[in-house]
């Protein structure tokens, strides 16, 4: 097996706030392999976004800081490169798209200027004409009709779906090896969501070897698009498995809880939606043992005190639970 595109080992990103230390990401190991779509799933505050932001060193400091860890991208250590070089990585080798396409574009500049800026920032030798043609090409590719006209329009003249297409165009114009999509469809209508996801997969298929890290809390999106899934809870990876494996044979009680709380449209008589009992523990005051122990229905004696390790319970299926040790 070739070395992964992105390798995260022992990442701890903590936020030092007035009410204590928030261990948003606590000892995360994660690989994004060449050419795959990896889904990173978890509820709000589980540390998915902070993990992604840590990769690009976008943690606001203060209050946040990457305490320890090792992030290697194509073998290069991202945590030790200086500020100038991390800027070279951003947008060119690793791109990111956010949840809010409506506000992610600068309202005072035209679409064209914002696409061209990325090209000119990373490849200063490109002429404006070249950058312009390149921008029109990528806008065509992301399915924006009449891109030459759209280039001269302002963000407020485009719909939400169009703006997310522009964001994807900006993210992909320099052909980065990794695209981090942080809930790219959350703010969009359901019909547009499917279009945007299809577009992302289609663009990825055309760029051989490029990978996507898809952060979402929508399991339906994961089932549709991902090759592998990582489930996060309480700042830790709880389960990593190929997508079929995870949906057919979930090992971690949290994953099982997530899957049973999905509403179903097939067969079953209308019943109350199953939920996971309890609430997410306070980030400043996580349990000492298993992070899920406060809500777990299968809790037994070691769970409260001993933190389980991430172990390979089945081939390529990793889980962090005492039940499987």
């Amino acid at each position: 097996m070739t070395s992964p595109l992105l390798q995260i080992r022992g990442l701890r990103t903590h936020f030092f706030t007035e009410s204590g230390v928030a261990k948003a990401v606590d000892n995360v190991d994660l690989d994004v392999r060449q050419g795959e779509v990896l889904g990173l799933v978890g509820e709000s505050g589980s540390g998915k976004s902070v993990t992604a932001l840590s990769v690009l060193r976008l943690i606001p400091d203060p209050p946040g800081r990457i305490v320890t860890g090792d992030i290697r991208f194509q073998g290069r250590d991202l945590l030790s490169v200086d500020w100038h070089n991390i800027r070279q990585v951003r947008g060119k080798e690793i791109s990111m798209i956010f949840q809010e396409p409506l506000t992610s574009l600068n309202p005072v500049f035209t679409i064209g200027r914002q696409v061209m800026e990325v090209i000119l920032a990373h490849e200063p030798k490109t002429s404006r004409e070249q950058a312009r043609t390149q921008s029109i090409d990528i806008l065509t590719e992301v399915g924006i009709p009449d891109p030459a006209t759209r280039m001269n329009q302002y963000p407020h003249e485009l719909s939400g779906g169009m703006r997310q297409r522009v964001m994807i165009a900006i993210a992909l114009v320099l052909n980065p090896s990794l695209l981090i999509a942080d809930e790219p469809t959350t703010a969009l209508d359901v019909t547009i969501q499917a279009q945007i996801l299809d577009l992302m997969l289609e663009l990825k298929a055309r760029r051989v070897g490029n990978a996507i890290l898809l952060i979402t809390h929508n399991l339906a999106v994961v089932a549709e698009t991902c090759d592998r899934v990582a489930v996060m809870y309480g700042g830790k990876i709880q389960e990593v498995a190929p997508v079929r494996d995870l949906f057919h044979n979930p090992l971690h009680p949290y994953t099982r809880g997530l899957l049973t709380s999905l509403p179903r449209v097939d067969g079953h008589r209308a019943t109350r939606l199953t939920t996971i009992p309890g609430a997410v523990p306070d980030i400043h005051n996580l349990p000492t043992g298993c992070k899920f122990s406060t809500r777990c229905t299968d809790r037994f004696e070691p769970c409260d005190n001993i933190e389980p390790q991430l172990i390979e319970a089945a081939p390529d299926h990793w889980v962090r639970c005492h039940l499987h040790e």
């Binding site: 976008l58 951003r90 791109s95 990111m96 506000t103 574009l105 600068n106 005072v108 990325v118 900006i170």
Partner: protein
């Protein structure tokens, strides 16, 4: 708005400009003031005691460009020739002539040959009368208009540039730098402005260099510096606040992930979005600066004599309350100018109002 207009792409700024043009009172005030201000730069050719051109003994002279001795025109005085006198002399003969500006009196010239003692009341030659040194009030008001407005615009520019830069840095960097900067600004802002002016003007004696343009006078720039030094703080508050708000917006984050440099993000991405309150405030800053110069001149701490100044004329009006032309004309000029600038400011504010549709009436 016609459909074709709506479909055309338009930047926010251009839309606001279009809205500004629709607000007739402000727009026409702007046009009028801009025209008059532009014309006021040509005042030396419109109102001066120097001739535009002289033809004397088959030779042409251009006193605007070069200085001629009175003796060159066979006049019996020392120094500058009396061109008005020369014109009367030449009008008898056909050969020689003098071409004078439309209003042939200068701002520094004491008209002591008028009957009676200065200040002289308005007459057909001197429409607004003369001041206590026998200088034509209309000419001095006109020159004073140019100086006041130039002064106010320059102070606004200097203080805005400094205020925006510093406010941007405070807001963008934030944290301890912001805290320290804010406290320093507060200390600086609590310095009493008028006392500082009095101290400075007693140490640096204002010099007037005769024959030099107002913009090239050192005391003019000194005063701009002092006023700007006390005014930039106000802008930092607005810009700092705007930067705090804008830097948290998604488009800034989106720009950071594309690897754009910090200075570019600050000045190219955030600044245009942070300028709205600053721009709508600018006309009122100009009003404040005109008033400040008038007040300082009135108190005698402003531009050195004999600079044509509104404040100094208003001061003369106060000491000569019976001479109505020394009271009404300078105050009238000040009032009219400020009124027009306020009209502009009102229209700019209206045009830049982001809440045009949601306002509850």
């Amino acid at each position: 708005m016609t459909p074709s207009e709506a479909s055309a792409s338009e930047s926010i700024l251009r839309r606001r400009l279009r809205k500004f043009k629709r607000i007739k009172r402000g727009y026409w005030s702007f046009l009028l003031l801009a025209c008059v201000y532009l014309i006021s730069f040509f005042l030396p050719y419109l109102a001066s005691n120097k001739a535009l051109a002289v033809r004397y003994e088959d030779q042409y002279y251009f006193p605007m460009v070069r200085f001629y001795e009175a003796s060159e025109f066979n006049q019996d005085i020392v120094g500058e020739p009396d061109y008005r006198n020369l014109r009367e002399q030449f009008s008898a003969s056909g050969e020689n002539w003098v071409l004078m500006p439309i209003y042939p009196y200068g701002p520094y010239e004491s008209l002591l040959d008028l009957p009676g003692f200065p200040p002289h009341p308005p007459s057909s030659d001197h429409l607004f009368g003369t001041d206590n040194r026998g200088r034509d009030v209309l000419v001095r008001l006109a020159y004073g208009f140019n100086i006041s407005l130039t002064f106010a615009i320059l102070v606004t520019l200097v203080s805005y540039t400094a205020g925006i830069m510093i406010g941007a840095c405070l807001g963008y960097i934030g944290g301890r730098f912001d805290l320290l900067g804010q406290r320093t600004i507060e200390i600086w802002a609590s310095l009493p402005f008028l006392y500082t002016i009095i101290f400075v003007s007693s140490i640096v004696i204002p010099v007037y260099i005769p024959g030099r343009m107002q913009i090239l006078q050192p005391s003019f720039w000194l005063l701009i510096g002092i006023l700007a030094a006390f005014e930039w703080m106000a802008m930092t508050y607005y810009v700092r606040g705007e930067f705090y708000r804008e830097k948290a917006k998604d488009y800034v984050g989106a720009a950071i992930v594309t690897g754009v440099s910090e200075t570019r993000i600050m000045f190219s991405h955030i600044l245009p979005n942070a300028l709205t309150p600053v721009i709508s405030f600018a006309p009122f800053a100009i009003v404040a600066n005109i008033s400040a110069l008038v007040a300082l001149d009135f108190l005698g701490f402003g531009l050195p004599a004999p600079t044509p100044s509104w404040g100094e004329l208003i001061g003369q009006g106060m000491t000569n309350l019976t001479k109505s032309w020394l009271v009404f004309f300078p105050l009238g000029a000040l009032f009219t100018t400020l009124l027009f600038v306020v009209f502009i400011g009102e229209a700019v504010r209206e045009a830049f109002d982001p809440k045009e549709h949601s306002r509850l009436r």
